[in-house]
Amino acid sequence: MNTLDTTLHAGEHGHHGPAKGIGRWLFTTNHKDIGTLYLWFSLLMFFTGGCMALMIRAELFQPGLQLVEPGFFNQMTTMHGLIMVFGAVMPAFVGLANWMVPMMIGAPDMALPRMNNWSFWILPFAFAMMISTLFMDGGAPNFGWTFYAPLSTTYAPPSVTYFIFAIHMMGISSIMGAINIIATILNLRVPGMTMMKLPLFCWTWLITAFLLIAVMPVLAGVVTMMLMDIHFGTSFFNAAGGGDPVLFQHVFWFFGHPEVYIMILPAFGIISQIIPTFARKRLFGYASMVYATASIAILSFLVWAHHMFTVGIPLAGELFFMFATMLIAVPTGVKVFNWVATMFRGSMTFETPMLFALAFVVLFTIGGFSGLMLAIAPVDFQYHDTYFVVAHFHYVLVPGAVFAIMAGAYYWLPKWTGHMLDERMGKLHFWLSFIGVNITFFPMHFIGLAGMPRRIPDYALQFADFNMVASIGAFIFGLSQLVFLWNVIACVRGGEKAAARSWEGAEGLEWEVPSPAPYHTFATPPKLPESQR
């Protein structure tokens, strides 16, 4: 505690550089350090979850069981999903927020620096606990990242208890992160930075943070109920005691659907920063973007049962959730139109971040279309739980969320490291990823429509060709991420010096400070640049 206080004081006085050695990282309260920790952690998790995905794709390369047993296959699908959602995508967004939000709004640091440190350092323990289940008797959780009861309660391996505690810890970490971001954005804006001048990344994160606060406790509640069912003889989800397994799905998706938006709204924010920069033109319809984000957030609470069209909901219920889901497509569509309108009659250049952003717009929209198809309840009876769904949510999350994170990383790397990126390597990474991602996930639409259920370790012969294609694509995509790693390391170690305004068209406070950003920025409140006044 003493050390913490000292570090904090050092930070508050703001005249010292970073501490030396490992202590700097363990006890840091500096938003840039913590942002860096989050980002490296999420990259590590991205590779871990990615290896699991490759194991899945390797097994599915050909029909028949070659590499792993079905039980282990299920553990892989479960861990892949959990790690990617809670370990890769969400921490990456928190990391970006940590780095960029204070710099965008002219704040010296996050509002609650000590809590910031805790919210990061919980994560490695949570994931160590979760990954350690792989080595336990009975194996890791094997019931899918949606962990439907009773497969995850009565029929779960003993390691499910560790899984539950890991989820609790991740939830606490996310909630603390969200509280911090809200407090920072609401309380630490530099004078003159009114809410309506807030960069869109801050806006989408603010709304995301409120979503997190609303739904992470519900997730904590649902896993607590599981824990009680497993160990304390309650019957929330156990039909034998008068409970209802379908209740689990309702509560889970009450969390789960907003969670989907938690993973995509910050991505909208990043893309809305990048496209104007490289189109050299202000974002079209800023106001609409903000309002539409708020509307998506509210509507996301009203559509959860579209994940469960086949559980036997009465006709009126199916219609309600179908209509509500279809309507949510409207504000989402508006965003895409706005991005396109921003590009229209701009003056575009295509550096690596822009390439990722453009790919995001196209591929996320494709994911949106398959989402719209899935919203149509009668047809969803055919799509539900097939590879069509797998294709849909991977289109939204990989070239959606993950591409947005990469675009953001490339966009802000000069600011973080002080070096420009090697554009040739960046473009190589982009094209390999773009091709890989499409070869992986596009054929999944076909195998899904042709009738292949998801989460199966082996499949009938008519699905063989496209599965092979998808597996090849997965390895292209997976290996090309090593180029990303190489790029990041190379950029940290050296390269062309980056100017304060690293990109020609970049606007915003973060581009007013030198690159790399000094350890302490905005110890005195900055003046807003001309463009933002």
Binding site: I213, V215, P217, V218, G221, M225, G233, A239, G317
Partner: protein, 187 residues
């Protein structure tokens, strides 16, 4: 400092919202039951107890299918006496399920009812039934479990047949654990 006070107040509010939402997660359980009752979601039966019979509506006929389902290795023989009953809305019908424990040990079971289509659940009124009751059978013992029910006259027109299923769950392990702990306490 002003900002710090602001932060503290904000954090307090946000933490409070979290606690509230955590509670809301649990509140979803009873809310869901209410929701099921109102919308007939999931075919949970809520109407039990005495009912005033006002004479059947002979213009309509409803087919009630009775189903018996075993859960997880439940070895009992368990089934309806009549698999299919023709009735009129408003008519009181009596039938029964029989159960036999063919194993060599004492077992405790519990029967959970479910109605399909789910929206019909609220119109199926059970005057007496064995649902949610624990049933103990000694080795080789048999029992008849009576069921007395009325279908509400307000049953929507388009429902002409409905299914009432009972799923039999073996709860012997839970019960024996509870009993042994009770014994320990009484000792």
């Amino acid at each position: 400092m002003n900002v710090q006070a602001d932060n503290r107040r904000l954090v307090r509010r946000l933490v409070f919202s979290c606690v509230l939402m955590f509670g809301f997660g649990f509140a979803l359980v009873p809310l869901y039951d209410v929701f099921c009752e109102v919308t007939g979601l999931n075919g949970k039966i809520t109407n039990t107890g005495p009912v005033a019979v006002e004479g059947p509506d002979l213009s309509r006929q409803v087919r009630v299918r009775l189903l018996a389902v075993h859960n997880e290795g439940m070895p009992w023989e368990f089934g309806p006496v009549d698999g299919l009953i023709e009735t009129h809305p408003g008519e009181m019908k009596q039938t029964a399920f029989h159960a036999t424990n063919p194993t060599g040990r004492r077992m405790v079971a519990q029967a959970i009812p479910s109605v399909a289509p789910a929206e019909a659940a609220e119109y199926l009124h059970k005057v007496n039934c064995f649902c949610f009751e624990q049933q103990t059978l000694l080795a080789g013992e048999s029992v008849q479990m009576p069921l007395l029910f009325v279908i509400d006259k307000k049953l929507p027109e388009h429902i002409r047949s409905l299914t009432l299923s009972y799923t039999l769950f073996d709860i012997s392990p839970e019960v024996s654990v509870a009993e042994s702990s009770e014994k320990e306490q009484s000792l």
